[in-house]
């Protein structure tokens, strides 16, 4: 049975998986999630370490940080998304990788973000991991509820249509730019808020938290879990975050096994673990 600490990491993984999933539900392969995650974490680290150093921080202050991180990353996503979402497929992926790199290098070199060592001693709102479990669990529940509502809404239908055929969607009166931007902004805000929780939980924050590796790992969450419903990336995030830790007993072999899972997952489950057929069997997930 995984301990609470691992459970928190798993939920953070699920949240990042959802963040990658949201643009993908509108057919956009965006790898920008780590950039917004890094911005959120850095914002929290900076805000929480202002003033006299203290080992604890109030939950209200953390929630305020989350709110600000959501606003900041959403604004950034609008600025970046308007030009970048004109690109399609692999070109969008490359442009968003560039964003991840820009943010990483900026955090590494800005005078107030602690350089390569990053920011230390970020105060904790909880003494035990259980508190983080509640906080991240609440964010996941809220996001899942919002995704479930979205998937049966006008917005969700438009996203599914764009994913199938963007040109036909435009000709059917769907403002594809607005829909894609909405998904991108939601993705960014979710990653930003997740970054805030992660920064407090990890106690320290540096530029490596939002690296290209994270983009690949979080993409694997969606691919293994399945991208036809929000349940897919959640499951993928939970499983793939837990796996390296649960495989610890086998030593260095665990990274090989982890790699095998990522490699074989798409081969054995090309539609992911949560497939459309599975969703149909649990008909209540569909409108």
């Amino acid at each position: 049975m995984p301990d609470n600490g691992l459970l928190v990491q798993m939920i953070l993984g699920a949240l990042l998986g959802l963040s990658v999933y949201l643009p993908m539900a509108a057919g956009q392969l965006s790898l920008a999630t780590p950039a917004f995650y890094a911005v959120g974490g850095t914002l929290a680290a900076l805000m929480a370490t202002q003033g006299p150093s203290a080992p604890t921080i109030s939950l209200a202050a953390v929630l305020l940080e989350m709110l600000l991180a959501a606003g900041l990353t959403a604004a950034l996503a609008v600025l970046v998304g308007l030009p970048v979402l004109r690109l399609r497929g692999i070109y969008l992926a490359i442009a968003t990788i560039a964003l991840v790199e820009i943010v990483r290098v900026a955090i590494l070199n800005l005078p107030f973000t602690g350089g390569a060592t990053g920011i230390f001693g970020i105060p904790q709102p909880f003494r035990e991991p259980l508190g983080y479990l509640w906080l991240s669990g609440a964010l996941l529940a809220l996001s899942g509820w919002a995704c479930q509502r979205m998937e049966t809404s006008r917005l969700g239908r438009s996203m599914a249509a764009i994913r199938d055929d963007e040109l036909a969607s435009r000709c059917m009166g769907i403002n594809t730019t607005r829909v894609k931007l909405t998904a991108f902004v939601a993705s960014a805000a979710l990653a930003g808020m997740t970054g805030v929780i992660a920064a407090h939980y990890l106690n320290t924050w540096n530029a490596r938290q939002g690296s290209f590796d994270v983009a690949v790992t979080t993409l694997a969450f969606v691919i293994l879990g399945g991208s036809r419903s929000w349940l897919g990336p959640v499951l993928g995030g939970l499983v793939l975050t837990a796996l390296p830790e649960l495989l610890r007993p086998v030593g260095d072999l665990r990274l090989v096994l982890f790699g095998l899972v990522i490699l074989l997952g798409p081969v054995l489950f090309p539609q992911g673990l949560i497939t459309p057929a599975l969703l149909e069997r649990f008909g209540r997930w569909k409108p």
């Binding site: 049966t152 006008r154 249509a161 199938d164 055929d165 435009r170 000709c171 059917m172 769907i174 403002n175």
Partner: protein, 245 residues
């Protein structure tokens, strides 16, 4: 004929052209389409018919000339904006939302804000008119070819168009299906008060269906008139049968 000759045309093209690099896909095309008219567009392959639909629906901008919709220029408008202004289209090479159900394909094109149940009911109504109600829960990419063509029409109708652009709606259909489609289009036009522009290779079908026809050849408008006039036009005969006009 129901077309009203003396009013301002619903759609007016004035010297419209489109160039793709060195290829002049359309040049100097001018005609008007009246409210309620069924207007046919014929011409050999590569004549520029689909390019013209792409210009009318805003998919590609015109490189010359002006298109006026209800007297106002459509210059710079996006496809979704033109659709909201009342121009809907179908696609020659079927572009349904394959992963969605037949019903969802129609619901996604209904843009007024209403409760889900009301939207579904409206979509079902359209599916019934097109004879697809029994297939509502099927995935769109599991439909037969003829049914996909009809679903394209249902989806376009869901956007409540005034002008419907049909790109080869009878392609791949057998003669009796073509007959049925002809009757269906006439019925839908009445019911939804549509103006239709139809691209079709099957000329007898258009002769029967349309009030007027335009003939394109190598991007040029070579003839415009009633079916009787078109049938007798020597340039049309030359374009279709080859040889010097």
């Amino acid at each position: 004929m129901n077309a009203h000759k003396n009013t301002e045309p619903l759609l007016a093209l004035d010297g419209v052209g489109r160039r793709f690099g060195g290829l002049q896909a359309l040049s100097d095309v001018s005609f008007g389409v009246q409210r309620g008219e069924i207007f046919g567009l014929i011409g050999p392959n590569g004549a520029g018919k689909t390019t013209l639909f792409n210009l009318l629906s805003g998919v590609t901008p015109a490189s010359a000339g002006a298109i006026r919709w209800r007297g106002r220029s459509t210059h710079g408008l996006r496809p979704d904006q033109l659709n909201r202004l009342g121009i809907a289209r179908t696609f020659q090479n079927l572009r349904l939302f394959g992963a969605l159900t037949v019903l969802e394909n129609v619901v996604v094109a209904l843009h007024h804000r209403q409760a889900q149940a009301a939207l579904n009911a409206q979509a079902m109504g359209l599916l019934e008119q097109l004879g697809l109600a029994d297939l509502a829960d099927r995935r769109a990419d599991n439909l037969s070819y003829g049914n996909r063509r009809r679903l394209e029409i249902a989806r376009a109708l869901a956007t409540r168009p005034n002008l419907l652009l049909l790109d080869e709606p009878a392609a791949g259909m057998n003669p009796s299906e073509k007959e049925q489609l002809c009757a269906l289009l006439a019925e839908l036009r009445q019911r939804h008060q549509l103006t239709l522009i139809v691209i079709e290779h099957h000329v007898p079908l258009l002769m029967q269906l349309c009030h007027r026809l335009a003939v394109l050849d190598f991007g040029q408008l070579i003839a415009l008139g009633t079916p009787e006039q078109i049938q007798r036009d020597p340039r049309v005969i030359a374009a279709y049968l080859g040889g010097a006009a």
